[in-house]
Amino acid sequence: EPEVTQTPSHQVTQMGQEVILRCVPISNHLYFYWYRQILGQKVEFLVSFYNNEISEKSEIFDDQFSVERPDGSNFTLKIRSTKLEDSAMYFCASSEARRPQYFGPGTRLTVL
């Protein structure tokens, strides 16, 4: 069964550094998403992406965040200058027709 994959599974970085989290969505899916879950808190929507542009974003998704689909298979989330409060589990999801969304296993980001 096709799955969303994410790399790395765990990323440790220093505050102020840039990180790129990578996702490979399910191959025939057209809609792509990023969510995050800070430890002990709810899963929160960050951004949705369709037809090579952002279709919706949350208040969390400020100028330090960006998304890109650099080729036909990868979908990336870049955090330009990481802060301590960016430490969280980041989930990528994809969907064929907006819903339902299928999630990857997540990348745990630790900012020191």
Partner: protein, 113 residues
């Protein structure tokens, strides 16, 4: 605004007994509702979805949920728990004009032998 409330943060059952995980939703529109499950160190797996068709929805692994508009509820049930059902379960709502999924706080299900 849309939201979901999962009424129990932890539920413990014995193997072979029924499971009930409670969820109430709030939505200005006719909602789409989902249950996702997260096993330890795994991603979020879709269990089932309600999108305004039949009110009783069957999902994977013997789970089902019933959409009750009058009670604004979407409780998840299973007749007989299995050890492998131990995981975190999330009730999720979405509206018609948004891609955003809104998650509940989760219910951790423990299954004892």
């Amino acid at each position: 605004a849309q939201s979901v409330t999962q009424l129990d943060s932890h539920v413990s059952v014995s193997e072979g007994t029924p499971v009930l995980l409670r969820c109430n939703y709030s939505s200005s529109y006719s909602p789409s509702l989902f249950w996702y499950v997260q096993h330890p160190n795994k991603g979020l797996q879709l269990l089932l979805k309600y999108t305004s068709a039949a009110t009783l929805v069957k999902g994977i692994n013997g789970f089902e949920a019933e959409f009750k508009k009058s009670e604004t509820s979407f409780h998840l049930t299973k007749p007989s728990a299995h050890m492998s059902d131990a995981a975190e379960y999330f009730c999720v709502v979405s509206g018609p004009n948004t891609d955003k999924l809104i998650f509940g706080t989760g219910t951790r299900l423990q299954v004892f032998p």
